[in-house]
């Protein structure tokens, strides 16, 4: 009866090396110690990045995390994007909002771009911990990256100019550079700008739902782009695809981390708050939905480490990679948003206040849902892959 892609046994299961396991333990401890919820709160009240956030960034850089997925020839450790999952989960769990993930996505793009000049220029800097920001999304809200409206125009004199608007550019302030997607003469193109080239460029801070994010709209009004800063044609497509894979995986990791964080918040409250002479966690109308959230977490984490396994295997087909990644992103974001939603309700009146941490997680969940495709979007694309 069943012969389609729709079978229970996935192509590859879950593999985790000893090193990855150790890294997970170390990263979990490091981030937990450095970024307790009080730090998150301070950060919310800080304009820009703030000293504490910068100190954490420096530490992450010193620990070598920025270079883990960068090739050895460019000063990295030569691992893959999948090896970042154990780091990004705890960053998500403790609501860290820095440039690490965006920078790694940019690095994945450059790594696949077959542009040795740009690679030699940027990858060693990233490996050292210099962040790169991403300008890939636009006002039409599309999560498919292949048709940007922003244009890389060729002038009659042969020079290149960037025209258009990009949204949700995070952590631009501290970035050493910016990776911009644009419509080139032959399909999508990418431009890597140095920070100083943004001097005259219009930048408008956005007010975003995730209070830990610093996000900006950038308008390019015919900004001149030197030819050696542009990637066009097939390499640009390859770079975008690679960025997308990294982004789906790392956003799934962030969401799984956040889900663990908010589940802790719920469970702590259910074990301590008392009403009617009983601890509220003894009420099944709170207990059972919390078990459902746990199940959502167990499933999402299994899909996350499966996706990491699939993209690390050279023999995985493009469809297997895409399926595993989209499933991970959809499941993690859906479950995280469910948990954030229930976290508010299960705190009663306190849950409705600014002071209650539940809202920070729900806001993070809503932000992650809106980045790189929400669950409905990914399920639509999965339907195309699985239900031919």
């Amino acid at each position: 009866m069943s012969s389609s892609a729709a079978t229970g046994r996935p192509a590859a299961g879950i593999e985790l090396s000893r090193e990855q396991g150790l890294l997970l333990e170390i990263a979990a401890r490091t981030v937990r110690e450095r970024w307790p919820i009080e730090r998150v709160r301070e950060h919310l009240e800080t304009e820009g990045r703030g000293e504490a956030a910068e100190a954490l960034e420096r530490e992450i850089a010193e620990l070598g995390w920025y270079g883990i997925a960068i090739a050895e020839e460019h000063g990295g450790a030569g691992q893959g994007v999948a090896d970042l999952v154990p780091l990004v989960e705890p960053l998500g769990r403790h609501l860290v909002g820095g440039p690490f993930v965006a920078t790694q996505i940019a690095a994945a793009a450059l790594g696949a771009a077959q542009d040795t000049g740009l690679q030699a220029h940027w990858l060693p800097r990233i490996a050292e911990g210099q962040p790169l920001a991403l300008a890939l999304f636009e006002g039409d809200g599309s999560w498919d990256l292949d048709e940007p409206a922003c244009a890389l125009r060729r002038e009659p004199d042969g020079s290149l100019r960037l025209v258009g608007e990009k949204q949700f550019v995070t952590d631009l302030g501290s970035a050493a550079g910016l990776l911009v997607s644009a419509r080139g003469e032959e399909g999508p193109a990418l431009v890597v700008l140095e920070h100083h080239q943004l001097d005259g460029v219009e930048r408008t801070p956005e007010v975003v739902i995730d209070l830990t994010r610093r996000s900006t709209t950038v308008r390019f009004d015919a900004l001149a782009v030197p030819g050696d800063q542009a990637i066009v044609g097939a390499p640009a497509l390859a770079a975008l695809r690679s960025a997308q894979e990294a982004a789906w995986l790392l956003h799934a990791a962030e969401a799984c981390g956040g889900l663990q964080g908010v589940l802790d918040v719920i469970v702590d409250y259910l074990r301590s708050r008392r009403q009617f002479g009983r601890t509220i966690g003894s009420y099944q109308s709170l207990k059972h939905p919390t078990v459902d959230l746990l199940i959502g977490l167990e499933r999402a984490r299994s899909l996350l480490y499966h996706a990491a396994t699939v993209i690390s295997r050279p023999e995985s087909s493009a469809a297997e990679r895409e399926t595993a990644l989209r499933m991970a992103k959809a499941a993690a974001c859906e479950a995280f948003a469910d948990a954030g939603d229930r976290a508010i309700q299960f705190h009663g009146g306190v849950g409705f206040t600014w002071e209650c941490d539940a809202q920070l997680y729900l806001r993070r969940a809503l932000w992650l849902n809106a980045q790189w495709g929400d669950p409905l979007h990914h399920r639509r694309r999965l339907a195309g892959l699985l239900l031919a």
Binding site: S2, A6, G8, S282, K287, R301, Y305, L386
Partner: protein
């Protein structure tokens, strides 16, 4: 034990597949039950019993159980491969599930050498069908309150009371029985003891109970001062509760050590996808309907996630915070998934969902309707979903009891 190489395992998988393909029995001219829970007639049981015996004699059952009791003495991964291939090739299931997967591992874990030799071979060969006498008419979820009495009388116990929902009870040679030896125990749990009880003794009678689908498979079991030998007791008097909990861990798949083999011929998401391809909505295949597609994708994601959970549970670094979460939630996750999936399948049948097994026009012989109603067997049997949610909430999340 040496770890088998990937090549060796692949080779084994091919062997098993070839054997199953060539040896699978001819479909019978009567309706087969969907799972071991609905074996209602002798002809159904004998057909399935013959299949289990054949599988066992070929060496594909109890592969990881010790050789001295009739097992294969090989790494568990071999049995895992057999189970997967059986599922993939949709061969019939093996009926002695209670023996193979609940009582058997329990006996291997804690029974005497003599008992292991006495019971294990018959479980594997299917000569001895096993049943489980835990639930009573007045005590189901509250298993600790069971009242069936076992009164010591010289070298034997006299059993008095009744059990209910005894799957395979009318066919069984042995029962794992939870009974009260001390009605004045310090707590309701302390007075319970556990028995490996023979069923064919005077004073034990069974009465079949008809299921919501019209099928049979479970029984009410009456004990009217039935006398069983004292050495049928497993563990000490008063240890019944702990042993029953260990049994439930095997039953729910929360503990490993099962003999293996399929216990059902259940349909999966892939089958529902195929149904959606055939079913029509507004004159078009239901599979083209965006709402149907989204539902199917959700089920596919869950199905894959649950399969992966089993793998992740074996990687300590990925389950360090709540090591028991995956195992303890397994039955809850998968049985509820199946129930919702089969309910969804009804909506794909459209107007034809109104027919039932036996109607000449019913789609696929009524398999979808029957299957949906039968999914409740696993959301109720072995501990209801609600009770399991309590277990997970309390034992895994540390939430207070009610």
């Amino acid at each position: 034990m040496e770890k088998p190489s990937a090549a060796e395992l692949e080779q084994f998988r091919r062997e098993v597949a070839a054997w199953l393909e060539s040896e699978r029995p001819e479909p019978p001219d009567f309706l087969l039950p969907e799972t071991f829970l609905e074996v209602g007639t002798d002809e159904q049981l004998e057909y399935l019993r013959a299949w289990q015996r054949k599988v066992y004699e070929a060496g594909y059952l109890g592969m990881a159980w010790p050789r001295e009791y009739g097992g294969g003495g090989r790494p568990a991964v071999f049995q895992e491969i057999v189970n997967q291939e059986m599922q993939r090739l949709r061969v019939p299931f093996v009926p002695n599930t209670i023996g193979l997967n609940w009582a058997g591992p329990l006996i291997l874990q804690m029974a005497s050498e003599e008992d292991k030799r006495r019971y294990i071979p018959g479980i594997l060969s299917c000569d001895d069908i096993w049943c489980q006498g835990f639930s009573e008419p007045d005590h189901g979820s509250d298993l600790g309150s069971v009242q069936t009495r076992a009164v010591r009388d010289g070298d034997s116990y006299r059993i008095r009371g009744s059990k209910i929902w005894t799957t395979l009870g009318g066919h069984a040679k042995y029962m794992i029985l939870l009974a009260r030896t001390d009605p004045d125990g310090a707590s309701k749990y302390a007075g319970l003891s556990f028995f490996l009880a023979p069923m064919q003794v005077p004073g034990i009678t069974t009465r079949p109970i008809r299921k919501l689908t019209g099928e049979y498979g479970f029984y009410e079991t009456f004990f009217d001062d039935a006398r069983i030998a004292a050495d049928c007791r497993l563990g000490e008097e008063g240890q019944g509760w702990q042993i029953a909990m260990a049994t439930l861990a095997f039953e729910r798949g929360a503990a490993g050590g099962q003999a293996g083999g399929l216990s059902s011929q259940a349909v999966g998401v892939g089958d529902v996808v195929e149904l959606a391809r055939r079913a029509r909505r507004d004159g078009r295949p239901a599979l083209e309907d965006p709402i149907v597609r989204d539902e199917l994708v959700k089920f596919l994601i869950e199905e894959r996630a649950d399969a992966l959970c089993r793998e992740r549970a074996a990687i300590p670094a990925l389950v360090s915070e709540r090591p028991a979460a995956i195992a303890l939630s397994g039955k809850l996750r998968t049985s509820e998934h199946r129930r919702r999936l089969m309910r969804f399948a009804q909506s794909l049948l459209g107007a034809q969902a109104a027919r039932w097994v036996g109607d000449p026009g019913v789609v696929d012989g009524g398999l979808w309707q029957r299957s949906y109603l039968n999914t409740f067997s696993s959301t109720i049997g072995g501990g209801t979903s609600q009770v399991l949610a309590n277990v997970v909430g309390e034992r895994v999340l540390g939430l207070p009891k009610q």
